[in-house]
């Protein structure tokens, strides 16, 4: 990963290209670490330009701590859910912390049982935070569950918010290496 960052005196135009480059390096790096490769895709590669060429939409919403707000509320993920749990069981576990705006409990496509995770949406950060703090590492139907915010501030979210540009990484910046 490139651990140096270019000081951008003209924010805007080339931000995306720069982000892309750093991210590509990250992914390229872990791919190069792999020692066991398998599959026809290594010889038969499609052009990925159409996927990567344009900018992706993001939600420009609040953040708090490390958490990122979604369009309508704060979404938490719960993992380790018992395969025979139901929406009611999950809802009951979290009902004390606020009105659950939305709950997604997906099933395993092969077995038809619960896959093991749920997404729950709360209106306020406080409610979501309390639900996480109170329920992480507790039991539900005899299994330990884990709770966390589903969405977080990214590495490059500070690049998007103009105000914090100067404080992006507390170390010297130098020109990032160009891609060859």
């Amino acid at each position: 990963m490139a651990d140096t960052y270019e000081l951008d005196l003209e924010p805007g135009a080339d931000d995306f290209a720069e982000d892309e480059m750093m991210l590509d390096d990250d992914t390229t790096k872990i791919k190069s670490h792999a020692t066991k490769r398998k599959g026809r895709g290594f010889n038969d590669h499609e052009d990925r330009d159409e996927f990567t060429k344009e900018k992706f939409d993001t939600v420009e919403a609040d953040t708090a701590g490390n958490a990122q707000k979604s369009v309508e509320g704060w979404v938490i993920i719960v993992t380790g859910i018992h395969k025979e749990a139901s929406e009611d069981v999950v809802e009951e576990k979290f009902a004390d912390f606020g009105d659950i705006q939305n709950i997604t409990l997906n099933v395993d496509r092969r077995t038809g049982y619960i896959k093991g995770y749920a997404l729950l949406e709360f209106k306020s950060y406080q409610e979501a935070k309390e639900a996480i703090d109170e329920c992480d590492n507790t039991e539900l139907l005899g299994q330990t569950i884990h709770c966390d915010f589903a969405f977080v501030k990214g590495n490059d979210s500070s690049i998007k918010s103009r105000g914090s540009r100067q404080s992006r990484r507390g170390r010297d910046r130098s020109k990032s290496p160009r891609r060859r």
Partner: protein, 146 residues
Amino acid sequence: MSDEFYVRYYVGHMGRFGHEFLEFEFRPDGKLRYANNSNYKNDSMIRKEVYVSKTVMNELKRIVEESEIMKEDDKLWPLADKVGRQELEIVYGDEHISFTTSKLGSLIDVQESEDPEGMRVFYYLIQDLKCFVFSLISSHFKIKPI
């Protein structure tokens, strides 16, 4: 080591409405990117990105691990054709798979293939991954991703 994880899935075809495809990837730093390009009725491309937490990445890792997809191989799977193409690329620690195959309409295609066991693993994993991604994207952006 825990960050050596990357997942990308693509399904698409060239047809009457141009190149129509759905693609998503989870990068090692938690960046989830999703694109769905359906040109039907001049729909424009949906392109969304969001960073997911470590817990989400760990759940994705669990789904991949429990599927045992890394043990499979695409060498006997049907080749991508005019009807379409699927690609699944995963980096998990020191293992890197990049599988390609045709679109699979139903379980019958799976059963009739030369590697029904491997294809079944792929078939169900893809469904579970799509389900996971659609739920994440729709809960964050409040859109129907398909």
